[in-house]
Each structure stands twice: as C-alpha cells, then as structure tokens.
Symmetry: C2
Subunit: 355 residues, 2 copies
C-alpha cells in the first residue's frame, strides 16, 4: 500500500481520495490557501463540504501549512488545482519532490508559448520544477468523462491516464483502479491533454444549439427542437478534434474514445460551459454573457482564447489550412473578437468526409 498526497481540495482532487482509500492506500488531502474551510471541516467532522460526503476511511486532511508533513513518504502526488494554479503548484511542489515519486495531474487546460505553440499543462508544470528532478519524475494526467461528485459517490466511472513512462502508468493504474473507477492508459499524453482542452471548446459549440433554439422562440407548433443541430455540432467537434490530433502528431482515434466523444458527451450534459454556449447562441455577445455568468470561471473561454493563438502557429508550420476547423474558428471569433454566433454551416464536414 502506498501513501498518496493530493494537493488541492477541490472537487476532482478530493474525489480521487475515494478509490485510493478503498484500495487501502493512505491518502493525505492537502488544501491550498483557498481551501481552509474545506480542510477545517474534513479535520473536525471528517466531512467534505463541497462533495457533501464523509471523507473515505483512509483519508486525512492537512492545511497548506502542513504540506511538508503531508508529502513525507508519499509515493504518488496528485496535483488537484485548476488551470490558474498550475504555475503556483509547480513552484510549490518543485523543490519538495524526490526521485522515485510519480506525479499525476487532474487539471484541464492549455497554454501557448509566445510563438503560439500549444503547451499542455503537465509540461507547464514540469518547466517549473528544478533541473534535477525535471527530467526524471514521471508526470501523468487524467482524461475521460468523470464528474467528481459521481466518482466520490462511487458511481461507475471510466477514465484514461496518460503518461510517457509506461512503467509509471502501470503503477498508477494499479493504485487507482477499483470496481467502480476503471483506468485505461495511453502513452500519448499530449493527445490526451489536447482532448481535455478541445472538448471544453467544443462543449461551448454544442451549447450554442440550445441558445439558437431560444432565439428562434423555442420548439415550434409541431415540437421541432434543434437536436439535429446539436448532434451535428457534436460530430463536427469530434471530427475537428481528430484532425487536430492528427496534425499535431497524436492518435486521432482518441476522438471516438473516452477522452474525445466520451468526455464531450458528459460535459455537454450541463454545467457552466453549456450555459455560456447557450447565452452566446441566444444572441448575447461574449462580454454580455460574461456579465450574466459573473463570478464563474469560464475555463472553456480561456481555452478558446489559447487556441486562437495556437491555430496561426499550426498554419505557419504548414500543418493546417486556413479553412480547416471551421467550428473552432467560429468559437474563437465569438470569444476573442466578440462576433455574433453565426456559424459557417456550409463549411462543416467539407474537409473530412472522405480521406
């Protein structure tokens, strides 16, 4: 049995404590400085207020000030912060890492280098580490459809772990897998992370359909909705994902697997990104929609902005034609340029229906 330290007591980081504890591992859940109330409840009542559940048996909670104690003897470290905290967690963990440990990150997102090259968050994280540990510590990430509250409720969940190091992947899969948390693996870490980012962008795309239906006054007298459009946006999304994976040297099959179609399906069931998409589809500008969703982290919008910097770099390298990925380009135009949600339907599927 190992000791696993989770840094960040948000929903997904905390939810991983359940399968780990059920497997008999000792789990240490460490809050960031934002998580003090959560950690206080976990310490005093063994109850996680955001997950609305008791902590699992073998989990114990630590304040951020107790980080060093929580990391002592840990074999696996989980980075459980959101995309805004990636640089911070890299700087925080870096000097404390030891050879032989494995890091796994739950964070979804994407950054771009100044020239527009896409950088997956595990790489961003690694670059914050000291030179000695940077190239020896395996860094893994989690993709696939997993709502944290369901995992903590021990509902059947299927994910994909990605890591360039197959031995580390094997250790991770064995450590986390339970009868309800099913872990498949890939060494295509980059492809997995691209899917995690792209599915957020395309969820925004699928969400547009509900807003467009509102703008046209809802279902008509014969109850015609816009499910056909939503499904087409879904498939245009998975098709563009496959193309993005292909031109960046990843496995385009991920587009129909858990990280692509699976994660897009679960994300499109509801939540912040769908709400933003609906507002945009109904005719609100991105600026207006942001005001309406005041206070919510618009992760999908940040990813779309990043992709707006990434696409020109792919074009400059001759990897991408200017008329490819029309749905993604529309989303960029809506979010970055404040354009209205008018979609170039006739360019959908044009490039990809024969190969």
């Amino acid at each position: 049995m190992s000791t696993v330290t989770i840094l960040g007591a948000g929903l997904m980081g905390s939810a991983l404590a359940y399968p780990l504890s059920d497997n008999g591992h000792s789990v240490r859940l460490v809050g960031t400085f934002l998580d003090d109330p959560t950690i206080a409840s976990c310490k005093e009542r063994h109850f996680h207020p955001r997950l609305r559940r008791s902590l699992p048996d073998k989990a114990s909670a630590f304040y951020f000030s107790e980080l060093d104690e929580a990391l002592d003897g840990a074999g696996i470290i989980v980075s459980g912060v959101n995309s805004l905290g990636v640089h911070w967690i890299g700087k925080t963990l870096g000097p404390r890492l030891r050879e032989g440990q494995i890091l796994i990150a739950v964070t979804k997102g994407l950054e771009s280098a100044p020239a527009g090259n896409p950088r997956i968050l595990p790489e961003v994280l690694r670059d914050e580490f000291p030179a000695g540990i940077r190239d020896t510590l395996p860094i893994a990430a989690i993709g696939g459809p997993c709502i944290a509250g369901e995992l903590a409720g021990r509902r059947q969940s299927f994910v994909m772990f990605g890591c360039r190091d197959p031995a580390a992947l094997e250790v991770l899969a064995a450590t986390f897998s339970t009868s309800y948390y099913h872990v498949t693996t890939t060494t295509d870490l980059v492809g997995l992370e691209y899917c995690a980012a792209l599915k957020n962008a395309y969820t925004l795309g699928v969400g547009l359909a509900a807003g467009m239906l509102e703008r046209e006054g809802g279902p008509d007298h014969a109850e015609a909705y816009m499910h056909n459009l939503a499904a087409a946006l879904f498939a245009q999304g998975t098709t563009e994902m496959a193309r993005f994976l292909e031109i960046t040297g990843s496995r385009r099959e991920l587009a129909y697997m858990l990280p692509g179609a699976g994660d897009l399906y679960v994300t499109a069931q509801g939540g912040r990104t769908v709400r933003l998409g609906r507002l945009l589809g109904s005719g609100k500008s991105y600026a207006e929609s942001r005001l309406i969703l005041d206070g919510e982290t618009l992760e999908a919008a940040e990813i779309v902005k990043t992709l707006g910097r990434v696409l020109p770099s792919l074009e400059a390298k001759g990897l991408l034609a200017k008329d490819e990925l029309p749905l993604l380009r529309s989303l960029i135009s809506i979010v970055v340029d404040g354009s209205a949600a008018v979609l170039p339907y006739s360019s959908f599927f044009r490039h990809y229906h024969e190969s």
Copy 2:
C-alpha cells in the same frame, strides 16, 4: 429541376419532401397501403397529420394505387419505408424501375445471410430487383443525425449520403442540399449503413445507465447521477463501432463523424430505444420490457438480434476475437438470451486503448 418520387409517407420519407420542394423539385409522396389516412389528409388539406405540418408547395400526394402515375418521369426515387418493408418495396419497385434513375433509401437496419454475413438494407433491396436493372441502378442511403420532425420544420440538419457511384452521389447532394439540409457524401456505403444499424444497438447501451440509476434509487443525497457511466457507454459504443468498421473493411473514422458519434448523440437524446434501454437497465428482462412497450417497433432489438448472428460469422473468419466488442455482446445476451443487464465493466476499453 427533377421529379422525385417518395414511396412511403412515414416521418422520414415525408420530411425529405421539404428540402426537395424548397429546391424547386416536383415531389410526389406516395403512401403505402398503411398510409391511406395520411395521404387522404395530404390530398384534401395539403396537411401531413403525422408531421403536423402543411405539405411543402411543390409536393403532391398519391395513394398506393396511383404508384405508376407517381413514378412516371421520376429521376430519383426515395425508399421511405421502415426495415420491415424492405423486401416488399424491393418487389414493388423492381419491375417499375428504369435505367437512368437513382434510388435513395432512408431505411435503417441490418439483415444477415444464412451464414451470418451482415447484409446492409440497400443490398437486400437490390437483390429483389430484376436482373436487368439490379447492377446498373445506383442505390444510395442516408446516414447521420436527423430527426424527421426537425427536418420538416426546416431546422439545421446535417447528414451523410452514401453510394458506391460518385456521379450519382453528386446528383443526389445537389438535388437535396438546402441552406438547412446539409449533405456530405461517402462512397463507403457499407460503413455508413453499419453505423446506422450499430448506433441503434449502442443507443440501447447508453440507455441502460438511466435504468441502472433507477434501480439504485436515483441520485443519492449528494446528487450523484450516472452521467459518467452513460458517457463511458457512449464512448465504448463509438469505440466498438470503429472496431466493427475496421474489421469489415470500412472507414473507422466514420465512428467520430456524423454517422457514428453524431447519430448516436441524437438518438440517445430520447425515444423508443432509450426507453427500452432504461427498462432493461432497471432490471426488467427483455420479455418484460417488450410487454411494457407493447405495440412499439423495437428496431434496436431486431438489430441486436441480427448482430447476434453476425458476430459468430466474423469470428469464424478470424476477423474478431471472442472477447472483443464486450458491450455489444452484453446487449446480445440481454436481448437474445434474456440475461440481466450486468455489464462486464472490466473488459471495456481493454482492447482499444493503445494501437
């Protein structure tokens, strides 16, 4: 402008009259012997009672007894019957077909030859035609996510036409495409039809999750649903679809395009197949579920039964291992053998996560 004759006044056949009429074609909608009340309304009030809409301007209705008149001068013929009517329509149309015509079928389904070889419905149809016309007449089919009522309501819809004859495909796409009915094309007719059949089977799979949630008493105190499981079943479905396409010599990319992920997405939004899946997932046997859904055509169940005959033939040819397609095998076991809906979770994704 052409004359297009649609045989079968069901929802999908009739809905195609709208884009055709909007493109200025003369549309003749012919009922089968089951459609007399529909045709009577269309003739008397220019109103389609099942679509709950006026017929489009350039459409006129014909009783089955007026078939010869309706076929006179038709350049394109649409087969608009369901899978039960395929042999009948083949026998009915066969002697009346003329060289130079193009046939396009809306029917989804799958048959199997006595040895278990899968036979797509356009081939079943063709085999009913007289020898002279059988090998010269292009036969096309329609795949992709399209709810008929939305198409008739002129909602944005994106489909894929499949035909082995590229010239016929071009004619069809030009004839049917409008600003709201977007037609992409493929010469992989077999792959397109496999997707249309498989997506019905896998919709049953996705539907199981809702029933399993019911069986466990619904969402728990912290509102954990089973969206993760539904998404995993969705992705297992598209992944198995890709594998099925691959081993039968089709394009596995269809699995993330309109005919695969797109059509599965729209079908999983609701309807008969989802209801059947939910009943099965809740613990009812197939026999009990059939009684509850009395009177409804369980097309998905028929397709699952056919696939139960097809898989052994693929195994016999050495194309498929016995432990592949575990979700499809579970569905076969549930529908054909009356087994309980207990899914082999640990075998999901095992084969396909690296390639």
